[in-house]
Symmetry: C2
Subunit: 340 residues, 2 copies
Amino acid sequence: MAVTIVHVAEQAGVSPSTVSRVISNDSRISQKTSRKVRKVMDELGYHPNMLAKSLVTNTTHNIGIVLPRPADELFQNQFFSEIIRGMVAKAASIHYDILMTTGSNAEEELKAVERLVRGRNVDGIILLASHKDDVNISFLREEKFPFVLVGRSEDFSDITSVDNDNIAASQAITRHLISLGHRRIAFVSGPFDLTVSKDRLDGFSKALLEAGIPFDRDYVYESAFTPESAAQITKHILSLATRPTAIITTDDVMAFSIIRTLWNNGLRVPEECSVVGFNNTSLAQMCLPQISSVDIGTYQMGQSAVQALVQRIKGEGFEQARIIIPHQLIWRDSVQVPAE
Amino acid sequence: MAVTIVHVAEQAGVSPSTVSRVISNDSRISQKTSRKVRKVMDELGYHPNMLAKSLVTNTTHNIGIVLPRPADELFQNQFFSEIIRGMVAKAASIHYDILMTTGSNAEEELKAVERLVRGRNVDGIILLASHKDDVNISFLREEKFPFVLVGRSEDFSDITSVDNDNIAASQAITRHLISLGHRRIAFVSGPFDLTVSKDRLDGFSKALLEAGIPFDRDYVYESAFTPESAAQITKHILSLATRPTAIITTDDVMAFSIIRTLWNNGLRVPEECSVVGFNNTSLAQMCLPQISSVDIGTYQMGQSAVQALVQRIKGEGFEQARIIIPHQLIWRDSVQVPAE
DNA sequence: ATTATTTGTGCAAAGGTTTGCATAAACTAA
DNA sequence: TTAGTTTATGCAAACCTTTGCACAAATAAT
């Protein structure tokens, strides 16, 4: 069996409590004792058992993150790997680890959360991709368990969350396109049940409104975050009597697929149709033409999320309800003034 | 304080051991008692404390995964998110969670592994991106701690690992290019210290050898897994007196960057230069021209790694040392017969 | 009716820490 | 010296389970 704190204690001729205090740098321990104990710890190759420690302190230094349900699909999106990258980096720097779990459906997902929370496996939880009536949120609130949401909750306004101002971002894009002279602008949204989709659509329609352009439902589409889905919608757009001169999407992957589909059908981008993406993934600047997009500070969102969560866990600092990561419009080759 | 097993026991008029046995479906418990206890558990909203359980069973149901050191850089690569996706999916399906950690340098990385292992935070570990003299491997071997390696170890042959036959894959690509008529083929490799890079280069040179084409060191380059690095190398290639007619790379991102750089300098792909990638990320089929690549079953590797690890943990099944995931060459638009 | 067997449950130890409180030792002040 | 402080350490309880072993009750066999 592994060497425990009592072995060290015996060997050093002190009590386990003293060893424990040495480990935690308790000020009451004398220099001499501390040195002596540390020496023994080294000799014996002692390493504290975190489980035992966790059990008594009720603290694990683990942050749970629940991958969105159709993890399979969403993870393909660079957005997710990017945000997780930010989380892991930040967590590691403050000595936390990231515990990832997922469920293949809503029920399993909640079960997983329950398991983590009530099994005391994590100190806090980060929720990704919020939608309306998220049962996880209700559960966590009820349990008064520390958590932060990436995105915005439609149901509760007092939840610590990390988000962009998606409405403003989307509005700004649309404004810019309008200022270029575009009047017929299509909007290819991600799944409507996602709050982020709603917000972006919201910003879009606001910009139209303020410019006095009628909001045309036929120019609004719902797509999955997949190339296939976007391609299909694009084909439909191509079949329209009066085509839009610009298309705004909710993610670079969709933007890319749209561009490709247009291209394959003989429509040049941006000459015959402008396209703008979202999230500013590396894809946006890699492809040809480079895609105009919105940098939403994905990596930073990940970092901020764990930072905010840890603050909540420790009960320190202000419990700022909403942290807004600034966005930035990146204009690239996929946009220009309309042809006609 | 949360409700514990003894509360349940008291309420149900049995002993804690009985409750524990009910939970684990011990066959010795009578139907009647079981029902009674379960009812009380429900009423009280009891949920076992996993930490306590872990402490006594010495089992956590967590799998540790150590992100490669420059996690920042590598994670950008779709390969990583894809393989992790496979791991999480598989792990969730067999009721394991994934605990991710990382370190910003080799020393920190080892420290993180030590912490996980000796702190008994995980039941096993998956190592990514193996290179020569990996201290993590030595440590884990010494500790006799269950782990599997994604990739191949140059130092030890008896390590359970999940890998492709990179030599064969690379060789097959090269052969095919040769059969198309290419004679001057450049090889843009990932970092040389990675085993996977060595293997792919190895397959490349083997194919040249068997075709009687001299191996030209000036046609072999070392690149980081970044577009910038690949672009720089491409510029150098463009400056060569006799340019290659085809370029093989070790990853799609690099392939993409190469194509773009060639294009920007007036060289058409595949007409004037063929390019082939590796890993068959979604990028490969999304971009224009679509990139010929090698599907190495990344997602499946993630799944297999978890499966193999859990088998090792449970000590069941054969401890097959090396699991080889089959690869598949995907020929797309970026390759054709050489111009001259 | 007695013994042997099966079935269901409880006792108590073990797992490795942390920490409030008590105490011993050393020092300071009178 | 005596009392009062400070400093350094130890004791033992608590955290919540699991599990080997013992035991009692019920059933079966003689």
